[in-house]
């Protein structure tokens, strides 16, 4: 009827065919039942239409057999659907080892993307084809949602925590990137594009982008600037736990519990050091709440992650700056971003 009327989005990720298969299956199920019900209703309405004003049909009470049939068959169908769809969900969240990590910060009304290699982008994301990419998402202000229809993935960027999801692009091209969680005035303009490149062209893009400093190196610089290195020393004699080889391992906490040293744990430990103290250490670390931006936190996380690599991080020099004073009685109120400060001045 309409030329160029699209009905389905492009499939450009490894999970997209799985989601589409589920979608077509559900369309088939829905179509079958809708047509069945519609046909029966229309047929009965015509076949048993009222022929005289005085007719009284014979009453039918019901049928246990039929009730069972239309309880159990739908039940079986939905249980099957449940299992299938949950497996697809798992496939979206179980990140394959060696995935390329990309940090994404949502901010009204833009997406700020940082690659491990240091490239930064705004409202754009360049990824190579055929490589699993793990997105680590957070937000500086309100809840946003990172949505790439062609990849069939979406994840909320929630302030104060990290969410993640992964994808593997399968076709070079440029695709839409949307914010799917309502975030204020320009919600509908918080859009951008995802560019999928052939590996060679991706390499060229990487080198062509002039920033040069990798995320981990930026994190290392910050690590030194904040004098974290005074306590977290590589030679295990510092007042804080050694961070080399820590990332991804399980750590034993003072309370006897354990925690996995993942992105969220590292982030939490920077912002709320007293929360989950590693067994054997004193809770002496001050909070860095308000001193490090969300992007800075991601750089620190990337740096600590790089320390876990077998070859270790780069050797650390002795810092010259003194440790920052304890931010006493600090209420943990980070400096509001400029536009937020304006919002707070509401009547």
């Amino acid at each position: 009827m309409f030329t160029g009327l699209p009905l389905f989005p492009e499939q450009a990720s490894s999970v997209a065919p799985q989601v589409d298969a589920l979608y077509f299956y559900l369309i088939a199920v829905s179509g079958f039942f809708s047509v069945l019900i519609a046909t029966l209703v229309v047929y009965f309405a015509l076949r048993y239409r009222r022929r005289s004003e005085s007719e009284v049909p014979q009453p039918i009470h019901g049928s246990v057999k039929l009730e069972l049939v239309w309880t159990l068959i739908p039940l079986a169908i939905v249980m099957f659907t449940f299992v299938w769809s949950t497996r697809v969900y798992f496939a979206m969240h179980r990140v394959p080892p060696g995935a390329m990590e990309v940090y994404v910060v949502g901010k009204r009304w833009m997406w700020k993307v940082q690659h491990m290699t240091g490239q930064r982008e705004i409202n754009e994301l360049h990824v190579p084809v055929g490589v699993p990419v793990k997105l680590i998402l957070t937000s500086e202000d309100v809840i946003h949602s990172f949505f790439i229809p062609a990849f069939r993935i979406k994840k909320d960027a929630v302030p104060g925590r990290y969410n993640s999801i992964w994808f593997q692009a399968t076709r070079p091209g440029t695709y839409h990137l949307f914010c799917a969680e309502y975030c204020g005035t320009k919600h509908s303009q918080m859009i951008g594009s995802v560019t999928v490149l052939e590996p060679a062209r991706f390499q060229a893009w990487l080198t062509g982008d002039g920033s040069g400093v990798s995320l981990a190196s930026a994190g290392e610089r910050l690590f030194n600037e904040l004098a974290c290195v005074t306590c977290h020393r590589a030679d295990s004699v510092g007042r804080g736990p050694r961070l080399e080889g820590l990332f991804g391992k399980q750590v034993r906490l003072a309370g006897g519990e354990t925690a996995v040293a993942d992105e969220t744990y590292v982030r939490e430990s920077i912002l709320n050091p007293a929360g989950k103290v590693v067994a054997g250490y004193q809770p002496i670390m001050p909070t860095y709440q308000g001193l490090v931006s969300e992007e800075g936190l991601m750089q620190l996380v990337a740096y600590i992650q790089s320390l876990a690599a077998p070859e270790g991080g780069s050797p650390l020099g002795t810092p010259e700056e003194p440790a920052p004073a304890l931010p006493e009685a600090q209420r943990g109120e980070p400096a509001p971003p400029p536009d937020r400060a304006r919002d707070l001045g509401k009547p």
Binding site: F33, R49, G62, V78, R152, C179, G184, R340
Partner: protein
């Protein structure tokens, strides 16, 4: 079988109609000078201070109709804006306020009170043979509370509106939005108590005021549906009330309850919000299911297929519907395990809904089907609710929900349930009981035209949105990318048809109040206590309290019944 109760009066009211041809109205024409609830007293005061459940129902009818057309006006503006991809009709700020107010007004001030507070209020006492609800003054108070809540929301509206979306997600609603969140929140908080008191009144009335002989399994399914709805109202609404209160406190005093920069957790708000707001969907659609059960039986002249299964499935929907809220949070960062549990339970709630649809369909089998207007709406309901329910399966599927969450697919789905379901049920019910409410018949020809126009307009409006959603158009978008335009234009075209469709009944129903032919007590030949009292009824509903000796929907003598 059809025993005349002791003391039935000369007109034979209160007795079961003869087992013979039910087409013939069992009650004689009312005498012209008869006193009824409408003409028993006149003047504004007699309405604003009434404790008669029927008059309160009419107060609600006027209020929710006003709110419906207000919310509808916003919908018209939204659809007009979305005809073109760039936001060229209104500013983004305005657009965001339009969909927020459309949502708040339609959900809290139209859909939730629509069937329960208008039809439920009018019919529930009559259907169980009572003179009034258990607490008539509380009932009137509910209407005033509703009005007060609506006034707060209207205050927010005329002072510049509110732009958080009807979901009020923090931290946007508590720290970032600089619109009238507080006034709108207080409006919803207050309105919640109207809903709670109505539900409380219905439950007590159903338990304590049934006529002698009217056992639970003789109750009309409309009453069962309202009983289940009332449970949700009483147990769910307080949660949203206190949640809105927390948002208001956090916003007003900058406390850290939901704002992460102050130590709160925005996900907790989503839990508390959906604990109420998911069951709220069943507050909207369960009463409509009750209406459909009444209409389908009447216009098939047959007892409903599987009475007890349909009755109990209402309760099952109410109970299970309370335990599925987490399916709104599959992409929020909720734990995968919790997500799985919520997904599983969401699938389970589909079963009682499916059972109802199958039973309504089976009721038509070997019936005496008459396609008058209420039946057209009921059949429309069955079809649209089926589509709405089945697309719910897409959203309960975790792997698929990730893609369609917060897109137009969701918008289309819940409009199929709320407009295709709840409003079709509401209109069907209004037409069905219009003769009882006003004592007048509406023009049948116009009514059928309107029903068909609404059905067609609805599908043209919302079906393209399923496709849009799967293509990836997020909801609440003011600007959108060009490839979505064709479908958006289709949707807006449908909306204009739908809008006209809603104006037609408004016109002829108002007309019929004065010029419509007088209705008999039972114009449809329906079974039910409300049809055994004159149209319109007197203030006490029944000249004498009825005694019930027959089963529900006994259109033909029981002896002839068979079980297939």
């Amino acid at each position: 079988m059809s025993t005349t109760q002791p003391g039935a009066d000369a007109r034979g009211e209160g007795t079961r109609p003869p087992a013979g041809p039910p087409g013939a109205p069992p009650v004689a024409e009312p005498r012209p000078s008869r006193v009824n609830y409408l003409n028993v007293s006149y003047g504004v005061k007699s309405w604003l201070l009434t404790t008669d459940h029927k008059r309160i129902a009419l107060l609600y009818l006027a209020s929710v109709t006003l709110m419906f057309f207000l919310g509808g006006a916003f919908a018209v503006l939204i659809r007009l804006e979305l005809v073109t991809p760039p936001g060229d009709l209104v500013q983004s700020e305005t657009y965001n306020k339009l969909f927020t107010l459309h949502g708040i007004i339609m959900v809290f001030f139209f859909l939730i009170p629509s069937i329960p507070a208008v039809l439920g209020n009018f019919l529930l006492p009559m259907m169980i043979g009572a003179r009034d609800l258990a607490f008539p003054r509380l009932n009137l108070a509910s209407w005033y509370i509703y009005t007060l809540g609506a006034l707060f929301t209207l205050y927010a509206l005329v002072n510049g509106g509110v732009d958080t979306g009807w979901t009020f997600y923090p931290p946007y609603s508590t720290q970032f939005s600089n619109t009238h969140v507080l006034a709108a929140g207080i409006g919803i908080f207050i309105n919640g108590f109207s809903s709670i008191l109505t539900g409380l009144n219905f439950i007590v009335t159903t338990h304590r005021m049934r006529a002698p002989g009217l056992t639970w399994f003789r109750l009309p399914l409309f009453v069962w549906a309202h009983y289940a709805t009332s449970l949700i109202m009483v147990l769910g609404t307080p949660v949203i009330a206190v949640t809105v209160l927390m948002v208001a406190v956090e916003r007003g005093l900058h406390l850290g309850i939901f704002d992460p920069t102050l130590g709160g957790d925005p996900i907790l708000f989503q839990h508390l919000f959906w604990i109420y707001s998911h069951p709220a969907v069943y507050i909207m659609v369960l009463p409509a299911m009750g209406v459909v059960s009444e209409v389908v039986t009447c216009f098939s002249r047959k007892r409903i297929f599987g009475y007890s299964v349909v009755a109990l499935s209402s309760l099952a929907i109410a109970v299970i519907g309370f335990l599925v809220w987490g399916h709104h949070m599959f992409v929020s960062g909720q734990s995968t395990f919790a997500g799985m549990v919520f997904s599983l339970l969401s699938y389970l709630v589909a079963i009682p809904s499916a059972i109802k649809v199958f039973n309504w369909t089976a009721t038509l089998y070997r019936g005496s089907v008459s396609l008058q207007t209420p039946m057209l709406y009921a059949i429309g309901f069955i079809g649209l609710f089926t589509i709405g329910g089945l697309t719910g399966l897409f959203l309960a599927a975790m792997g698929l929900d990730v893609h369609v969450h917060d897109t137009y697919f969701v918008v289309a789905h819940f409009h199929y349930i709320m407009v295709g379901g709840a409003i079709m049920g509401y209109l069907g019910g209004i037409h069905f009981w219009w003769p009882k409410i006003t004592g007048r018949l509406y023009p049948e020809w116009w009514a059928r035209i309107a029903a068909v126009v609404i059905f067609a307009g609805f599908n043209l409006t919302f079906f393209p949105q399923f496709v849009l959603g799967y293509l990836g158009m997020p909801r609440r978008y003011h600007y959108y990318v060009e490839e979505f335009q064709v479908l958006n234009v289709m949707s807006s075209a449908g909306a204009s048809i739908l809008g006209v469709g809603y104006l037609i009944p408004m016109a002829y129903l108002v007309w019929s109040m004065r010029y419509g032919p007088k209705a008999t007590a039972n114009p449809w030949g329906a079974i039910g206590l409300e049809w055994e009292t004159p149209s319109p009824p007197q203030t006490e509903n029944f000249p004498r309290s009825p005694v019930v000796t027959w089963e529900a929907y006994e259109y033909a003598p029981e002896e002839e019944a068979r079980v297939v």
